[in-house]
Symmetry: C2
Subunit: 191 residues, 2 copies
DNA sequence: CTTAAGTCGAACATAAGTGTTCGAGTTAAG
DNA sequence: CTTAACTCGAACACTTATGTTCGACTTAAG
């Protein structure tokens, strides 16, 4: 999976990783970050940045791709298909609130900057896990059915985001986030 | 209150209103809207726009000021200090989710564009109403006390925002918003 | 009807971002 | 050690946004 095309030199590989890391941070905490800022944060020259990612669009897509993949991994590890739905949701929240929030922010940015559609397919793969879990919960009778499924998913993401936001403004300790989130979200969506 | 300084001509007054209206819409639905776009949307020349609001900053502050004032009015009308806290919160949600969301978006924008502090004072006036209401609810024993007050306020705003967002992407009908919001929020924050 | 207030397009200056090219210098890999 | 891959600063072209100035035109107010 790593060596697809022409083999890259090790330092190039390293720089690409550094760029993606920096871009993820900057894009999520300051969406309008410039290419200059990203290059600087990655400890890399502007030209180098452009040589790997010929445009801001491409870079954003790459970051998004990577985050979606990562989110996929993390979600898979939480095994949302196993055990009682409520338990599975708890596991998911506990391990994934961070990644899911990054995913959400990047997707918002991409939608604004790259136009509406584009990566909806990839995005779906992530959201569907949450939606699938909630649907399963409904079938088990533990998740409420009096509201649109759509809204339930929104509620999950929304509170997820709120918790993540409170964490990085220092209003909430990171280790408390999952607990607080759980305590608020579960009563909101269970039947 | 209207005739404070030198008296303005009627057409000027009209244009100022049109500009503020347009700016509110554009700022909330596309934060990075340019002055050109705002002028065009207000049906006004660029020069006229600048003659009333010498800079983007000033315009943003004016819009924010106006929205805060408006939010204040709407909140006051919902009489959050009267009756049982739960009832008062219901009234508040029903009449104010719209304005409160505008307020939230604008404040976020202002914080990003005008630096961190600035209008925190004015902002407080609005948030305090919600916080006061929740505190009263806690005293009455109907609002949970096991989570930070800070977080409860965040939860209210967060779901408010989610509902407003779903409304203007067409995923939720405006007339259903208050009901859905209520049905989700109340279980999340009551004891 | 007179006039002061207001409008507006055109043109300008400035700044910041994007993306490209060039050429010289480094560095990994065989 | 040789070479191809890679890095990087400097300079350039281009675009978009912000504000300003000028002068002619329009309109509300007395």
């Amino acid at each position: 999976m790593a060596t697809t095309e022409t083999r890259r030199r090790a330092d190039a590989e390293r720089n690409i990783a550094a760029i993606l890391d920096a871009a993820l941070v900057l894009f999520t905490e300051e969406p309008q970050s410039s290419m200059v800022a990203i290059a600087r944060a990655a400890g890399v020259g502007r030209v180098t940045l452009y040589s790997h990612f010929p445009s801001r669009e491409v870079l954003l897509e790459a970051v998004l791709d990577r985050t979606i993949a990562e989110a996929g991994e993390v979600i898979k590890k939480a095994a949302p298909e196993e055990g009682p739905a409520t338990e599975a949701l708890r596991r998911l929240l506990r391990t994934s609130w961070n990644v899911l929030d990054q995913h959400r922010k990047l997707f918002g940015l991409a939608q604004r900057e790259l136009g509406p559609v584009r990566l909806r397919q990839r995005h779906r793969e992530v959201v569907d896990h949450v939606e699938g879990l909630l649907t399963r919960g409904q079938e088990e009778g533990v998740i409420r059915t009096d509201l649109p499924m759509n809204w339930l998913v929104t509620t999950v993401y929304s509170l997820l985001h709120a918790a993540a936001e409170d964490v990085n403004t220092g209003q909430l300790k990171a280790e408390d986030a999952a607990g607080v989130l759980e305590a608020t979200l579960l009563p909101a969506i269970r039947s």
